[in-house]
Symmetry: C2
């Protein structure tokens, strides 16, 4: 058992300024946590983090995010937060033709509440416990709300979830199961992200908060470690992007592994992030060669969980793809829905539409010659589709039990 870890220093990816607290640098960009081994000892007097430059792949067999404890700023919490991560990464050979490459999927739906958000929630809740907080909170009406509420519940913390006033009842029921304090907020929900950070007495772990980013970097640590076990590096990692928190986290992992000489700086995995075409401010900035994202008037998309018209970490995402030779792109709803169908029918995976943007994006990139057929590409399936409802395409035939042998013989010979 390690002791309670001390609060980590934050640092700006762009200007390098450090800060003891807060989510934003004075330059306006989001902060993330500094992992440099100089800022803290645990309760037993030991240095509580490994300098990233001295990090090496752990030799322990545990498969949760806590195998990377040397790169995490918190102590392992009780409850579901103790077992997040360690999700399957596997080849999906029947999708190679469609994807145009050697495809692997990282299945984040295996996390306790069915999405990658559990990684960040675990670290946020762990920090709240370390700090003696009673309350955590989040601004979300989707996966992050469920994840934060469930992780807090299992650790014995109170949780405040701020949802939009017009949230559909069905979505509310999914969050309410975990019994957080739910408040519907009348007014500009877009403003809430910043407003929440100044609310008294609640540690808000929003989507690009430094603690959440610290937890979510473990997705990419796991991917890179699995490849390293085979003496390889993925050629590309592809994920949906919304606020830019998860995308930033993936880049943070790549940066830390580069610092540790566990990734070759000359051949980093290219990071590709995908948006829905109806709401694609980061992709638009990338297409325009800009280094700042301009908010858009986003339209409706089937990938509702990534429709973020004003992404707080958008600029950081542009920096991430330029650092690694990747790109931000967007895909149309019909391509997303087709990719979702293919994931179910050729890989046995039921994902939410946002997750299917990855496969649609990969198909687009390989068609455009940006990904080669022999390249190893990882699509991060960020969240489960089990909670979704979809129409039935056709009603199956009905056969009397006595006619089954004949009908089945005909089926299998046909």
């Amino acid at each position: 058992m390690t002791g309670t870890k001390t609060p980590p220093t934050r640092v700006c990816y762009r200007c390098g300024r450090e800060a003891a607290t807060g989510a934003r640098c004075s330059c306006g960009e989001p902060l993330w946590l500094k992992i440099d081994g100089t800022d803290g000892v645990d309760a037993t007097g030991r240095a509580d983090r490994t300098d990233a430059t001295r990090f090496s792949w752990p030799e322990t067999s545990g498969s949760s995010i806590w195998r990377y404890r040397d790169l995490l700023p918190v102590s392992r919490p009780p409850g579901i937060g103790s077992v997040v991560g360690g999700t399957p990464l596997f080849r999906t050979p029947r999708l190679d033709d469609y994807a145009g490459c050697e495809l692997r999927v990282k299945d984040e739906s295996a996390n306790p509440t069915g999405s990658f958000k559990d990684r960040g929630s675990a670290v946020g809740v762990a920090r709240a416990l370390d700090a003696g907080d009673d309350w955590v909170g989040t601004v979300s009406h989707g996966n992050m709300a469920m994840s934060t509420a469930a992780t807090a519940a299992s650790a014995g913390l109170n949780c405040l979830v701020l949802v939009p006033d017009d949230i559909p009842t069905e979505r509310l029921t999914h969050i309410a199961r975990y019994d957080p304090t739910l408040v519907r907020v009348e007014g500009d929900y877009g403003r809430l992200y910043d407003v929440s950070l100044d609310l008294p007495g609640v540690r808000f772990v929003n989507s690009d908060a430094p603690l959440r980013v610290a937890g979510q970097k473990t997705t990419a640590l796991e991917i890179c470690e699995a490849f390293a076990d085979e003496g390889r590096t993925p050629d590309a990692i592809v994920a949906p992007v919304s606020s830019g928190g998860h995308a930033s986290a993936i880049w943070k992992a790549v940066c830390e592994l580069r610092d540790a000489n566990l990734l070759n700086a000359e051949s980093l995995p290219r990071l590709y992030f995908v948006q829905a075409a109806a709401c694609d401010p980061i992709a638009e900035a990338f297409r325009n060669g800009a280094d700042r994202v301009t908010p858009v008037d986003g339209g409706e998309t089937v990938a509702y969980s990534i429709a973020n018209a004003s992404p707080p970490s958008g600029n950081r995402v542009l920096a991430a793809v330029r650092d690694t030779g990747g790109a931000v792109l967007s895909v149309a709803d019909d391509a997303i829905l087709d990719a979702k169908r293919q994931l179910a029918r050729r890989a046995g995976l039921c994902v939410e539409p946002a997750s299917a943007t990855t496969l649609a994006g990969i198909r687009h990139l390989s068609t455009a010659g940006k990904i080669d057929p022999e390249e190893s590409v990882v699509a991060i399936a960020t969240g489960t589709g089990f909670r979704e409802r979809s129409p039935l395409a056709e009603t199956p035939e009905s056969v009397p039990i006595g006619d089954l042998p004949e009908r089945v013989a005909s089926l299998v010979s046909g």
Copy 2:
């Protein structure tokens, strides 16, 4: 890479007769696979299984069911079948008071299609690939249907799913996503289980089929290995029971580990299996001291996925609990629903009602003095609740964004 494994011999748990094929012994009882190291070599001429008496915990780090390849009769398949298992097992301290013991949950919802069924589907599909079959099938309108269809899809096999004629459309859509051949069967759905085994050209992997049982024993192997890592044995393992296939599999694992001297024959984990009171033929037989289960006219229960009025492996379940000093019990729907709420609110777990029978059963057993407060008990949460819909208990309050600081200050101080 091992070669293609040879077909395993089957054996009757009760009379010891062996058979080369089939699901039932001539005595009428279900067969399971013999793991004794004498019956087969792989394509490279090596013995393809370790004698269970010589099995030891693997030293490899892989966390899927394939770490137990020495006890499995098949080769690892491609697709999601390659990564099933390795699900989280963790303490849920906030449920200890409710459960009346030191509780752990084995979260089977982390499997690719959200239930323990994926373990058995992986082995069934793997065997079909080893045998060169084109078709697998199953008789199910729930988790097993989704699991078999998805596992087959990801491995490139055709899949036939036989569902009842009156299946609700919503349930059909969950299965149809994976694009199996769906046939609604008019007539006595209860008879289909046996009828399907004689259908031509399709390998049916029904709920207590020997191959499915072989896959599903890995749940208990994982539980016992995790305890063994700490030099311990669980005092009790608790699971829902329906056909008796999974329960038989858990017992099979215990038997193999006892044979291997990895469990002490004098202090086996007690196996407890739980039914819904509205349809509890195995519990009734246990209460009556019978060694044969009599079919019942089952009523409706919220735990619809375990309402089996004529369980094909029911007698085997009675043998399992008597061998280990456990019991079969049943719990009322209100106790199931209360346990389900507690799992969400105190452990962050959203499970289907069938899974919650475990916690309700444990509470019942500890209240009755059959489980002691200091005992380590594992509840197997067999399937996800994400696909369920539940009514919203109350509509959350609505607060104007400008009033949030005051409202939140009041909340956190209250």
